[in-house]
Amino acid sequence: MYAYYLQLGLRSLRRNPMLTALMMMAIGFGVAASMITYSVFRAVSDDPIPNKSSQLFAPQIDSWGPQQNEKGEPPGALNYVDAMALMRAHKASRQTLIYPVMLSALGRDADSVPSSASGYAVTGDFFPMFEVPFLYGSGWNTSEDDHRAADVVLTKEFNQRMFGGANSVGKEIVLGGNAYRIVGVAQHWNPAPRFYAVWGEDGFSESPDFYVLLNRMLDLHVDSSGRNSCRGNLAFTGWDQWLQSNCVWLMPWVELNTRSDAEQYRQFLTSYAADQQHAGRFGWPANIRLLDVMAFMTQQNVVPPESRISLIVALCFFVICLVNTIGLLLAKFMRRAGEIGVRRALGATRREIYTQYLLEAASVGIAGGVLGLLLTAVGMSGVSLLFDQEIAQLAHLDLSLVALTLLVSVLAAVAAAFYPAWRAAQVQPAWQLKSN
């Protein structure tokens, strides 16, 4: 019977091609606008490390005080003194410090010009903590951190550029005029957003080239190529004094596997900040945060406002398209009042009429969904016109989005048909028969 209703529905749609086309277009455009903006929103607000995001935390300590911090919030990164204190205390099962660096890389060709390579200075725990996949070799052991070794891990992309993709583990590479030992080559791994470094970056840039041992970078006075934020009067006259200043530039991460571990770490941070107050370094009570990955993403406003606004406007647009569809369906159904009257007089129940017209709407939904899918596919190729290149690259039409597009279209069409179908089911057979 449902198949028959669907058939009836399709036939009736063919009878008013203009009206049908109008409804299809309303649903198609509405759903396409929503899906395109949603695909971008989904890409920028996704969990970058789903299986560990609740166990990785960014500790924050207010080293600026209530008069200079941002509306009571501690800075998003740490200064050198606090960062080193947290590392020394080692109260987490794994912990790392990160800062971005930019170094020159010399090709194997003797008279080639250097090319720029960007990477992160990290500690050994970085690799197991963030589950960095390896193509060759592995990360370095944390004891290497203490030995301040000249170790480096290349990314697959950089290894391709410098070594043609060969296994380069054990080889040397010269970066910024100094030699480093390659201990591993990472697989392609570039979480989006790049959660571990979003403080001071937009979080969606291309994969870095290497990860290099942090202590070695500090020994060589390799400056951060990223953000450095300071407060108050600055009096440093060089590297060593800068390290002791209140400038924040080091991004800390800790791995805490259970809730109680996190609670203990929070207490440790509080007591550390309180100690600093007692020692006279901080002139204010402890003000700390311990944010997991998703909370940190929210605090750092990783999702661009453009992406949010466009999603909201697109959804409003979809709602208007639905209102439009309700009107058109009402017109379409009520035009057939006579036909309904005959069917009702011949014994069809209200429920049957209701089902029939909902199914007719569903078939409009399917057709609109297919149109919407086509428009979404076309729109996806134009996403790079509307958003940053880096963000546009992340948005893609996958199977789940296709399914969602069709599902939303059908649901929307059926929802839009509730009222018109109810009106159709209310048609009085006697009145219709009489007036004919």
């Binding site: 309303a26 200079q68 020159s104 010399l106 010009v113 661009p304 606004i309 208007i320 009107g327 016109l385």
Partner: protein, 410 residues
């Protein structure tokens, strides 16, 4: 034209009437706000930089080796000499960034050395005595830097020079009486810096939302970056020779010392490229909102056509009766136009409230500006015209219904 019969007819088509009114209301709310977003984004894109954009380009020069402060300073001096003697180059300056670069260096400004809360924020440019001339900035008061004032700035040195040149916007912000020249302020330092010159316009390096309250507030210090990482060179080509200069400059620098890099991304850019990148998001938003507005208006118009056509079809007999009783083509046409006008006015009344409601929410959540009344008025006129335009074809069809319809069964 009598309104009363129209109203009583509409009362018999409540659902259709409400749907059209609702659609007009929502469309008004979205279109007003979307147009306002477009306006704001375009205004942002149109902000002047104050520099000689057609002839300027920037090079991000990163060193291939680790240099000491003295070495780096000497290399920079040598590079500048090389750049300035190129036939296509008018002038060049070493700096920490350029207007619209995105991000960059900014400092808090205070009026007293021990003040903890900032007075305001300024984008910081550093350069040598060629900075103003190279960028083509217009000095409106005071004097330019002289060579003797330029100091070298090494790795992580917080040097605050005793003199500065600031933008007029910053001058007016710090000294509203217009007497900024010769006055001094503090910038994250216990020693003051004195204003020796004021330039007309100098846009900030960053273009993001957080810096909107500080738009146009910039300061320049006579410092030559002598850092291990590298330095930006801003180069001004002779008029009409930008392409030549952009080709010759890197070649000449590499010939002089090949241990340097110009990163593939933003290593060598002219202002057309800088603008494109700086306002990528703004342009994208404007385009998206534009498309949504256009499609939305089209869909709303199509919806009105569809529903009115249905009404006309439904009322053929009544129209026939009216015609038989002496109504002219014109009367019928006016009937449908007036009917649509009444519905539109109702929708607009609700839509105005919705428009301001949506705007308030956008202001609160995304710090969008308050919607000016002109946008709502413009939106109202647009929607009334759209409604009348959409209803015209079905109404014309209605007016052609022959009086004979009155005698036919429905």
């Amino acid at each position: 034209m009598q309104i009363k019969p129209i109203l009583s007819a509409l009362r018999r088509h409540k659902a259709g009437t409400v749907l059209i009114a609702l659609q007009i209301a929502l469309t008004l709310a979205i279109v007003c706000n979307a147009l306002y977003i477009i306006h704001q984004r375009l205004a942002h894109i149109a902000e002047p930089t104050g520099v000689d954009e057609p002839n300027l380009f920037a090079m991000a020069n990163l060193w291939g080796e680790q240099y000491t402060k003295e070495q780096a300073a000497a290399k920079v001096q040598q590079d500048l000499a090389t750049l300035r003697q190129l036939p296509s180059v008018a002038d060049a300056t070493p700096t920490d960034g350029y207007p619209l670069r995105g991000g960059g260096w900014d400092n808090f400004i205070t009026m007293k050395p021990d003040q903890t809360a900032k007075t305001t924020d300024a984008s910081v440019y550093v350069g040598d005595e060629h900075f103003l001339r190279t960028l083509g900035l217009k000095l409106i008061a005071g004097r330019d830097f002289n060579a003797g004032e330029v100091q070298n700035m090494g790795l992580r040195e917080s040097t605050i020079p005793p003199v500065t040149i600031i933008s007029k916007t910053l001058a007016d912000r710090l000294f509203p009486n217009g007497d900024a020249l010769g006055k001094s302020f503090y910038s994250m330092s216990s020693t003051p810096t004195t204003i020796i010159g004021i330039v007309d316009t100098l846009h900030r390096q960053d273009v993001s939302t957080w810096s909107a309250p500080y738009t146009g507030q910039s300061l320049i210090w006579p410092l030559r970056l002598a850092q291990p990482l590298g330095v930006f060179y801003v180069v001004r080509a002779k008029p009409g020779q930008l392409a030549d200069a952009m080709r010759e400059a890197p070649k000449a620098l590499y010939a002089e010392n090949r241990m340097r890099m110009f990163p593939a991304k933003d290593g060598l850019v002219n202002y057309q490229q800088i603008r494109e990148e700086a306002f990528e998001r703004d342009r994208g938003m404007a385009i998206l909102m534009g498309i949504i507005c256009a499609v939305l208006l089209a869909i709303t118009a199509a919806g009105i056509v569809g529903l009115t056509s249905f009404w006309v079809g439904q009322r053929r007999r009544q129209i026939g009766v009216r015609r038989a009783l002496g109504a002219t083509h014109r009367d019928i046409l006016h009937y449908f136009l007036t009917e649509n006008l009444l519905i539109s006015l109702g929708g607009i009344a609700i839509g105005t409230l919705l428009a301001f409601g949506l705007n308030l929410w956008l202001v609160k959540t995304f710090s969008l500006g308050f919607l000016p009344l002109t946008y709502v008025l413009g939106g109202m006129v647009t929607l009334v015209l759209l409604g009348q335009g959409a209803v015209f074809a079905p109404a014309l069809r209605a007016s052609r219904v022959p009086p004979i319809e009155a005698t036919r069964p429905a």
